[in-house]
Symmetry: C2
Subunit: 202 residues, 2 copies
């Protein structure tokens, strides 16, 4: 059984990342999301170990100090983190992991481990990004403007990603994301080990 | 219009490369084969500029000396070569080029230009490779053994390729090759230029 591949997916708000990753997740049985630890309280209907692993602040702090997180962040006073051991267990079992994370988190992952594939989703234009944010209807003008400004800054970080997918037509973008996953499994370094075995090249 | 991508495809005999590249060529309108120059005589039905560009030995030699070939080789006294100018013209016009070439030719291409994507096709086992060679029915035992020995040596060169596709099930291998082509168009370096334009990041 060969090891799975870690796919790290980042995008600014309004790029359509969540819809896209759900579409692709439905397509690959072996593709699994990573589950974060968080200190925030479970909402009604959320189960421990499904959406998140719910822990208290003391335990979170212990894990931070023990270096158990591949990345962690503080969002409005709640803490979120991805356990290195969880990632390793999934990948070793042969599963691909799709990690949905912002650019800061992705940078932490990149510096904490080798071999992940980094994919950035961008909206086709700032106008579409704005439309998508407004379509959600839940935010006031000020927070939309703040998100747009944030989006533009995040998009600059796309430069350090292995792949950039411009999400213009959803089905086309999903096809590209699926292709990246299939293609990476044919990565030369990865497959050559198998080839050496098959043809006893050593 | 962004530039096309050069895909260089190598495989030992019996790997199923020709069937595979035909399947994939049918799928992508923008994917075009490169056309070689050769000194061999045109066979009945072959048209100059379709299968090959037919030239004489003197003209071939002139092109070699002028450095006009991205790669060239001598096969049983006939010479074959791919013109740098032809490749550049196709790629600049936005077409992807699929070059079907042996490991020696691929090595010449690699040292003569940047940016190509190198894909190696291997048979799923030495046994299948042998079956496929025998199924052609046209060769004697000695030449089959020589091809098998050659195949094993060529497979060692797979290590230097960007992608390796194990051609076990044809449809699956074709899907992988198609995915590589789609994924490479989402290559970060390639797309970031477009992103910089769209979002005026400069």
């Amino acid at each position: 059984m060969s090891e799975g591949i870690l796919f790290v997916l980042s995008a600014p708000s309004g790029a359509g990342k969540t819809t896209l990753s759900n579409l692709v997740m439905d397509h690959f049985q072996a593709l699994t999301p990573s589950i974060s630890y968080t200190t925030r309280k479970a909402r009604p209907g959320e189960c421990n170990g499904v959406e998140y692993r719910f822990i208290d602040h003391a335990e979170f702090e212990r894990m931070v100090n023990a270096g158990e997180f591949a990345e962690h962040a503080d969002v409005h006073g709640n803490r979120y983190g991805t356990s290195k051991a969880d990632l390793d267990a999934l990948l070793t079992s042969g599963k691909d992991v799709l990690m949905d994370i912002d650019v800061q988190g992705a940078a932490q992952i990149r510096s904490s481990r080798k071999g992940g594939i980094y994919i950035f989703i961008v909206p086709p234009s700032m106008e579409v990004c704005e439309e998508r944010l407004r379509a959600r209807g839940a935010e006031d003008e000020e927070s939309i403007q703040r998100r747009l400004e944030g989006a533009r800054n995040e998009i600059k970080e796309a430069e350090s990603y292995d792949y950039i997918i411009i999400n213009d037509k959803l089905e086309l973008a999903a096809e590209t994301l699926r292709s990246v996953i299939v293609a990476e499994h044919a990565g030369g370094e990865r497959v050559f080990n198998k080839v050496e075995e098959i043809f006893q090249l050593n």
